[in-house]
Structures are given as C-alpha cells and as structure tokens.
C-alpha cells in the first residue's frame, strides 16, 4: 500500500506529467480563457511529436550540416512549432466564425485525421506507420545536449541528490519542467495584460467585444495558435521518455488532458499544472492499488491488465463528478470560474 503511494508520488514530477501539464496549459488558453472548444489537443501534440521526430530523423542537421546538437534540437522544436501554427490556422480559418460546437467537431476530427495519416502504412517510411518512430531515431540531439552529463558544462550540478540529472531521463524531466515554468509565466503575464482582457471578454460575449472595436476573429485565432503551440511542445516532451506511437495520440489523450485541465481549474494559471500532476499521480495510484488488489485475488481469474481498466473507469467517473460538482476545479474560485455557455 505504502509502496504504491510512494511509486505514484514518483510520477508527480515525471516528464510525462510535465507534458500533460503543458498540454493542459495550452488547452486552458483555448477553453478556460478564450472559451474555444478544442477537442483536438491530441492532434496538436501529435503534430509536435511527429514534426520533431521526422525533422530530426530526416533533416538531421547534426550529421548533415555539422550543426551542434543543441542547435539541431532547437531547429527541430521550431519546425514542430511552425507545423502546429499551420495546423491551427487550417483549423481556425473555417471554424472560428461559426458556433462553438463546430470548432469542437472539426478539431476532434482533425486530430483523428492526423493520427490516421500518421499511421497509414503508405507513409511507413516517413512516419513509421502504425508502429511509429523508434526513440533512437530522434533522441540523438536531445541526449547529446544534456549539459548535466559527463563533460557537460553543468555537470558539476549533477551530484548528490541531483545526480539523476546526468541521466537522459533526468535531463528530459528537467527540460520539461523548465518549459512548463516558462509557459506558466507566459500565461500569467498575458492574462493580466489588456490582451488577456480581450480574450476573456470574448469568452463571455463575442458580440459585446466586437461592438467595442476588437477584431474578435483575430484574437480567437491568436488564442488558438498559442494554445496549439503549447500543445505541440507538450507533444515533444511527451515523446522524450518513450517512442512515437500514433495510437498514443488518440482521442483518449485529448480527453485525459481535458480531465487534467478541469481537475486543476480551467481559467487559472496554476490549475492546469496542478491538474496534470495530480492526474498522473491519481492514475498511477489507482492502477497500483488495483494491481495490489488483483494480487489478493479480488478479481478472480481476471488478468491484471483487464482489471487495470478500472483505473480509466475511475477517470471517467471523476470527470463527470468534477464537472457537475466542482466545475471551477481545485484552484478555481466558484464565482468567477464556474463556466456557463
């Protein structure tokens, strides 16, 4: 029991929970601040992940042009960001003038289109088809850029309790959380600026904001792009500790990010971070618990992985309960954040 808890606590600051947190921050800009119903955050994440991996795999400036790895790494991230901006524009141009639920349907459909295209066998050479892209194909630059590794200029930091920083996983985690912090500061700054005021006004009533001389369409597009770029970077963080697998970018991922966002509080700066972290913690805790119970024979002849599905049942139920009874999330203030539409 205790070791389940401790094991889950280990997940609190993992690179995965950072990826979830960043994706949720992006979704928070969409939904929490601008009121946009984006159900395709997994699509943005997939675009980021594939953009990054494919760029590194095929352009590979490190070996092709002799760039330093950190520069190639940045180039790959920029490439992914540009792809996600284009994706956001394609989504936004037709739908941002329409009623909100059209955006919902178009985003969820587009995310699936991205996944279907990524996994089609005719593109296996580029995307790896349904098997995806192996980690070794794109992790060269990121691993070589670890400043905490042996011989890195920050190697001296990686000693004592921080020793794990010199490992690849430690470096991924460090980098991921740095990016999350940057995103948090960015959102915090934006949302207290006049720009953020317009965005929040649009969430409340588009026509009113329009009547005050603001180009609502343009602001919605800016919000869509900004949140989408964060989703794309989250997608990159998501694949550092693992491989690129098309089916990990399915609609379920979007729904998980929504759960994380609503858990923390949609229109808060720190809510998505807390939500992302808690989501991973709770998920692995419930899984661990079920595995323990399974070990005790409570589920009869059922297999462990089958019994493990109960953790996701819990996710679904949690989402329902949250939305109905605490729509403002953990961080939210009931007055401001109980959303309506």
């Amino acid at each position: 029991m205790l070791d389940v808890l401790l094991g889950s606590l280990g997940n609190l600051i993992s690179a995965e929970s950072a990826a979830y947190a960043l994706a949720a921050i992006g979704l928070g800009i969409h939904f929490g601040y601008a009121g946009l119903l984006n159900f395709g955050q997994a699509g943005f994440m997939a675009i980021g992940a594939y953009g990054f991996a494919i760029f590194t795999r095929f352009v590979d400036p490190t070996t092709q042009f002799g760039w330093p790895s950190w520069l190639s790494l940045i180039a790959a991230i920029l490439f992914a960001v540009v792809c996600s901006v284009i994706f956001a524009l394609i989504l936004g141009i037709p739908t941002l003038r329409l009623r909100g639920d059209y955006l919902a349907i178009v985003t969820i459909a587009s995310a699936e289109i991205v996944r279907f295209v990524a996994r089609t066998q005719d593109l296996t050479e580029v995307t790896g088809g349904s098997q995806g892209i192996r980690g070794t194909d794109y992790k060269g630059d990121i691993n070589a850029s670890n400043p905490f590794a042996d011989g890195g200029w920050l190697h001296w930091v990686a000693s004592g309790p921080l020793e794990s920083l010199s490992s690849n996983n430690g470096w991924y985690t460090f980098l991921s959380w740095v990016l999350v912090i940057v995103a948090v500061v960015l959102v915090w700054g934006l949302m207290r600026s006049p720009w953020g005021r317009v965005i929040k006004g649009i969430r409340e009533d588009e026509d009113a904001v329009r009547s005050l001389g603001k180009n609502v369409y343009s602001y919605k597009m800016q919000a869509l792009v900004l949140g989408g770029v964060m989703g794309a970077i989250a997608g990159i963080l998501f694949i550092f500790p693992r491989a690129v697998q098309p089916d990990s970018f399915a609609t379920t991922l979007t729904f998980n990010v929504w759960t994380a966002l609503l858990l923390g509080g949609a229109a808060t700066v720190l809510g998505p971070v807390l939500g992302g972290v808690l989501f991973w913690f709770l998920l692995s805790f419930v899984r661990g618990l079920i595995a323990e119970l399974h070990g005790l024979g409570i589920f009869g002849t059922m297999s462990a992985s089958q019994a493990g599905q109960l953790a996701f049942v819990a996710v679904g139920v949690a989402l329902v309960v949250l939305v109905v009874f605490r729509p403002q999330g953990i961080m939210g203030n009931k007055k401001e954040l109980s959303f309506h539409v």
Partner: protein, 462 residues
Amino acid sequence: MEKTLRPARWWLAIPALLAALAVALGLGAPPADATAPPSDSGSAYQFQGIVRSDPQTPIAGVVINASGPDGFAGTATTAADGRWSIPTPGPGDYTVSIDETTVPDGLEVNPAHISRDFTLGTTSSQSVLFGIGAPGSFAPAPSAGSGDGGGDDGGSESNESTSSSSSFSWSRLGQRLFTGLNFGLLLALAAIGITLIFGTTGVNNFAHGEMVTFGGFAFFLLTTTLGLPVWVAIIGVLIASGAFGWLHDAAIFKPLRRRRVGLVQVLIVTIGLSIALRYFYQFLFGGGSSTLAVDNSARISFGTFNVNVSNIVSMVVSVVILGAVAYFLTRTRIGKATRAVSDNAGLAAASGINVDRVIRIVWVIAGMLTGLSGVLYAYFIGASVRWDMGFLILLLLFASVTLGGLGSAFGALVGALIIGIVTEVSTLWLPSDLRFAVALVILILVLLVRPQGVLGRKERIG
C-alpha cells in the same frame, strides 16, 4: 389534425415490426457451439494478434516467434480463432517474426511482415498483424507495411488493405458501393439517435459510441453466451438498449437538466461517461475482439460480386426502421411533439407539450436505434464485437450528423449515407486505413462551403 393515432400506439409498433424483421435476420441460424472467451493474456508486456487470411477466416496452427533483450525468446501458435500472444519480460526492443512454413499452402505472407522490429514500452501490449493473402497479392513495394498495428481503425477489415491493389474495376466499385450503402444505413440508425437527442436537448452525446457497443455486447451475451436464437436476441437487444437509453436520461441527463447545468458541462459529462463505460466494457470483456456465435456465412452472388446475406438483411432492416422513424416523426403525435421540442423547447412547453416526457421517449428510441445499429455493425465487421467498436465510429456518426445539419433527422440519414459510401469507395484509390480520415476530410470541406450542413438550418454566424 391527425389524431387517429393514439399516443400509445407508436410505442408498440416499432418493437413489433422489429421482431418480425428479426425473424428474417435470424434465417433460422441456431447458435454455433461456444466460441473462445475474449482472450487477454495476464502478462503486463506482450505481443498479440490474430492471424487471418481475410476478415472472416482465422488460421490456426501458425507459429509466431519473438526475440528480445537479454536473450529472450518466445513462441506461440495460433489457436482455432487465429489468436496468439507472446508474453515478454518487460519493455525493450523485440523482433517478431512469422514462421512461413506453418502458413497453409496457397497463402502467402506479406514479405514486409515476415520479420519486424518493435519497441515495447509506450504500450504494454503490442498488436502485430500479418498480411496474409493469395500469392501475388502483395506488391513488392516497401510501402506494403505493417497493417493494422493498434487495431484502432475499425477492426478486422484492415487486412483487406493488403490485398487491395490500385487497379480500378466497375465490379469493385459496385462491391464498394454496396458495402458503403450498408455501412451508411447502419450508421444512419445511430446518427439519427444522436440527432434526436441533440435536437431535443441540445446535448452532443459523446457517449453515443458506447450505446452502439452496448447493443453489440448485448447481442453477444444473448446469442453467444446464452445461446438464444438471433431473432429473440434482437428483441432482447432492443429492450435492453431502450432501457439503457431510458437509464441515461433518468440517471444522468434529467438530473443535469434539473440542476440547469450548462451545455458545455453536459458535453464534458458525456465524455466522462464515454470513458467510464468504454473501459468498463474492457474490464468486463477484455481488450480483444470476441466472435459472435452466429452463422453469417451465407452468400449470394450478383453477377460479378458476392455479398453476405447478412449484409442484405441488415440493409433491409435499416431501411424499414428508417421508414418507421420517418413515419413516427411526421405522423404520430409524439413524433410531432418531438419535432416541436426540437424547434423550440420553450414554445413547445408553453403549448402544453410535456417536454420531459418527450425527451425521455427520445432517449429510449435513440437507445433502441443505436443498439440495433450496434448489432448490425457487429455483423458488418465480420460478426464480432469489441470493447471500443462504437467509439471507433463515433466520429463518423458526428460527421454524419454535422454533414446533414445538426438536429435534422433526414439530414443525418443523408450525411450517414455520404459518409458510409465515401469511406468504402475511397478504398479503391486510397489506402484502406485512411478511409475514416477521408470521411472526416469531407466533413471539414463541407463545413467550409456550407457550415449549416447539407440540409441544415442556417445558424446565425458572427
């Protein structure tokens, strides 16, 4: 006004009609002997799959080998249903290969599939499919890749992709049109369910796919576990699905209406419901497909192409039910009340219509239509059911509804037919694993030109 129909009469008409049709669908097929329970290996990390020569024909006795880190080597032989699984010690890079000598004579393995490398770690259970077909059906091109890895795009039909070449023929077009029509009609049943609910309550029900799956599993339990005849099972499915729809409204949506919970919140509630139900199905039935113990082997030849009798029956059933729905909506009092509520719930309530009752009835009818659609879909994918079968077509259902125009039942029918036919016909030119994507692209293109859908009402656009 036509008050000749008493309110209660429609209520009996549909099930009675369905019962009659169910007899036809049964075609006197008694349940075959018990099929294997849904397979699911106990190991956390494993490779697994089903070896089939076509969606309906599993191959037994094929040997699969896996090798991996630390000298790991595992082997498995496919069972009677073509299933195999190889548990592995944990994450890592593995090579999975098929022993060609164990494949029956007259069949060939896609050369690209004979031996492949996989990394376990992102998913603990990796599906590996082997393209198997008649000799010469695999182009030497390297693009003849890995088939349906995650099993996530509509199940067992994916193997067809390996045998579909780029050559066009009218008979293939005819075959695809036929299949597409069949698919479109069964989609229409569920799509009308969505659109009725959306029209009367404003709720986009993301848990609708789970209603489809419910119908499929109810049918599985009745025919395969309990061994009931097909027509009895269909009546059972209708009753169960109607009750399931009733339960949705009574347990969840009516209380939410009472609390005046906003539409976006309700939308997210349906997402939560969808997740919970879907994984509950997987908890109960496991992560693989379960084959129905029904006989669907009867085939008829029409000139150059063969069709399953079950597909024809499925289409007839769909058409008749759609006719019944149209009759219900346009001619019966409750149906008219339904349309009144869709138009303007406030006005309908003011003119004495019991809106809550109408919504309850709509949920029951939507449940029945959707459950039936689940049964037909189970037949469509080769008489099998799967925990996420409904979820996989959920987007197609939404695409149908949106294409036709949100809230219009006739529009949903048209949209579903377009989607059904487009998905199937596109496979003549495009890889079949992209066929759902094609449907969604069509959806987005139509929204660009005609946001209100093909037949929908124009919304105020900002």
